[in-house]
């Protein structure tokens, strides 16, 4: 397994995998709350809302120093989310609309600032609006340290304020009645997410970050009914998507790392939606199928009984077609179900007859009235 060996020995793969995993863990854990709080699109919104902050930071400092731009981006993103909260709290405008307004208006203001900067004969502006946004393949060792430190703080805060965040997400009114500063908690939890998003923008770019906020949480939700398990699972899914995306993009050339991680996260979501026990679609279809079959069996049983009554002999066999005429086309499954339970049997070819047990069952169901 040279690929696994590479994971430990190759500098780039190790850095990218570690970075993507760290990001996946942090974004997955915090993103779980975002998914539950209907803030899934905060990643996308923050990345747009950051533009005026970047432009202003450049206008004020005159430099493209990453730290300056990140600060500008974080402050603008942060102000944007506060505005969203204010609008949602005081008016009937819903979260999605408020987010959309802040996203587009901030970005628009950013464009205005960019065109104003463009007018200045200053070559330092080159690439200003893309400069900040990183790519997963270009993760650096110092990014790992930043991400681990900030992620650690965010996770520590989540662990420390676990019950408060749970209360905030589940029943904020009740939380307020207990005396918790719910609004401050709201601001804090959103701030943690915004910080994670801005760090992610700078290191891995917009789209991967948007996906990492939503996908692990949405996938994890399908597998469990416990918040704690969900958050841990989301962190694990985030890490899994990060590492597997890094590995795949390390196997083939011209396989961009960030988008590969997004697709890996997408696969995790699809698998979860289909296969997760109880909630998953496959489980639901199976349950539906079983219900339908059970209902079909009941209908077929009664039909066989009534047909038998007409012929005065309960052991009279009937063509499947005749039964289908009254019971509908799906009768075959019902009859097979009856046969499995020993209530009916197949008599030469396509004809079916009730067994004595089937007759007893039919009479029981019809309340003995015939």
């Amino acid at each position: 397994m040279s690929i696994v060996r590479d994971l430990f020995t190759d500098h780039t793969l190790r850095t990218v995998a570690l970075g993507a995993a760290t990001l996946g863990i942090v974004a997955g854990a915090l993103g779980s709350f975002a998914v539950l709080r209907r803030q899934s699109l905060l990643g996308d919104a923050t990345s747009h809302a950051a533009l005026p902050g970047i432009a202003l930071a450049f206008l004020v400092s005159g430099s493209k120093a990453p730290l300056t731009l990140v600060l500008g981006a974080a402050v603008a993103g942060w102000i944007g989310t506060l505005l969203v909260m204010a609008v949602v709290r005081t008016t009937r405008v819903k979260y999605d609309s408020a987010l959309g307004i802040v996203l587009s208006v901030f970005f628009g203001v950013g464009l205005v600032l960019l065109t104003i900067i463009q007018k200045r004969a200053d070559a330092a502006q080159a690439g200003l609006d893309r400069f900040l946004f990183g790519q997963a393949a270009s993760l650096l060792e110092r990014d790992l340290i930043t991400m681990a430190a900030l992620g650690g703080i965010a996770l520590a805060a989540t662990v420390l304020l676990w019950k408060e965040f749970k209360l905030l997400t589940f029943d904020p009114d009740f939380g307020a009645s207990l005396g918790f500063a719910v609004r401050r908690l709201d601001v804090l939890l959103t701030a943690l997410l915004v910080i994670a998003i801005v760090v992610g923008l700078q290191t891995v770019g917009v789209v991967l970050m948007s996906a990492m906020v939503v996908a692990p949480g949405a996938a994890a939700r399908q597998w469990t009914d416990r918040l704690g398990v969900m958050v841990v699972l989301a962190a694990a899914f985030g890490a899994l998507a990060g590492v597997s995306g890094a590995l795949v993009s390390s196997e083939a050339s011209r396989m961009p790392t960030g988008p590969t991680i997004v697709l890996a996260a997408g696969v995790v979501v699809i698998v979860s939606l289909f296969l997760a026990p109880r909630r998953g679609l496959v489980w639901r279809w199976l349950a539906d199928y079983r219900n339908r079959r059970r209902l079909g069996a009941g209908v077929a049983l009664v039909d066989l009984y009534r047909l038998a009554e007409q012929h005065d002999t309960l052991r009279h066999a009937h063509e499947e077609a005749a039964i289908a005429a009254t019971a509908g086309a799906r009768v075959r499954h019902g009859l097979e179900e009856l046969a499995e339970r020993g209530w009916a049997e197949r008599v030469d070819g396509d004809a079916w007859a009730l067994t004595p047990a089937g007759r007893a069952e039919a009479e029981r169901r019809l309340g003995g009235t015939g």
């Binding site: 998914v35 209907r38 803030q39 899934s40 699109l41 990643g43 996308d44 919104a45 747009h48 609008v87 005081t90 008016t91 009937r92 405008v93 819903k94 979260y95 999605d96 609309s97 408020a98 987010l99 959309g100 307004i101 996203l103 587009s104 208006v105 970005f107 628009g108 203001v109 950013g110 464009l111 205005v112 600032l113 960019l114 065109t115 104003i116 007018k119 789209v207 991967l208 948007s210 996906a211 906020v213 939503v214 996908a215 949480g217 949405a218 939700r221 399908q222 011209r254 396989m255 961009p256 960030g258 988008p259 590969t260 997004v262 697709l263 997408g266 979501v269 939606l273 909630r279 679609l281």
Partner: protein, 369 residues
Amino acid sequence: MTAPQLEIQAIAALVAAACALPGVFLVLRRMALISDAISHALLPGIVLAFFLVEDLTSPLLVVGAASTGLVTVLLVELLKRTELVREDAAIGLVFPVLFSIGVILITRFAGDVHLDVDAVLLGELAFAPFDRFVVAGYDVGPSALWLMSGILALNVTFIVLLYKELKLATFDAALATALGLSPALVHYGLMALVSVTAVGAFDAVGSILVVALMIAPPAAAYLLTDRLPVMLGLATLLGVGSALGGYWLAHWLDASIAGSMAGAAGIAFALAFLLAPERGLVSLARRRLRQRWEFAQGALAIHLMQHEGSPEAAEESRIEHLNRHLRWDPDFAARVVRGAQRRGLVARVDGSLALTDRGRAVARELVVR
């Protein structure tokens, strides 16, 4: 005003109207951000269309873009229908995946071609007047003007024809189903409309302005009215107003036109947020203040009435006494009394207060109701 300036404003006004109409329903259905999702998700459609025609200027690329718009809304709708994820998560899952597919396709197969959304959609309002529509040698105006007129006409037709279905499917999907109106079909229709409008408008004015015009004017209208037809009209007006106002803002700043228009839409929303009658922050604060005074004046009138004609009336009617009895501080009490005098509820008779007839009526009404 030069011809291009006039044309830009006309195009922007058309885009604003075309976006505001479906935008109203998006805002009401909590699907506002689908427009932004579409703007990201267009990439794979453009790439696949390019692989097919191998020409960056082919109109087929725009068709590819529009069809991914449709795929986006379809996938979001399918995900939502599983009831395993909510709409916001559904949107947040679909667009990164589609965009990533686009990036992978480009990087793997077309890394040496300048292929991206900018390469296919004009997306810059400033140049729209120079992209002429020429019919049989005659220049009949900017292409965007015609394209957006068509899309606006489509939107108007759709909304007029299906007005009652849209209304019902938006407010009460269950009832709509019961009445046999198939909200799902109406919904898919609306989403197809959003997708076509978005792609057409992205080409004319750029994605961010489309997102702004689809959300901000309808949301502002939502704060100003309770009635759907009024909301549709107001959203259109506010959108067109933002577009025109934004244009002159851009002219004054010599800055990005689309950016200024988005900013103007933001200002329109902020104004509604602050100043809307009834729902605006200012009127809320003023009402709270007024109620506080009215309430205090009413309390004063009731207090006076309860003691009218009783032996302690003279004592209870003294202003100093109010401070103690009603737990008011002297300044506040003095202001309440002045207000009540102005409204003709009380009169001052040598140092103590007396109810007027009007004051008595008000107090009685407050007590008995």
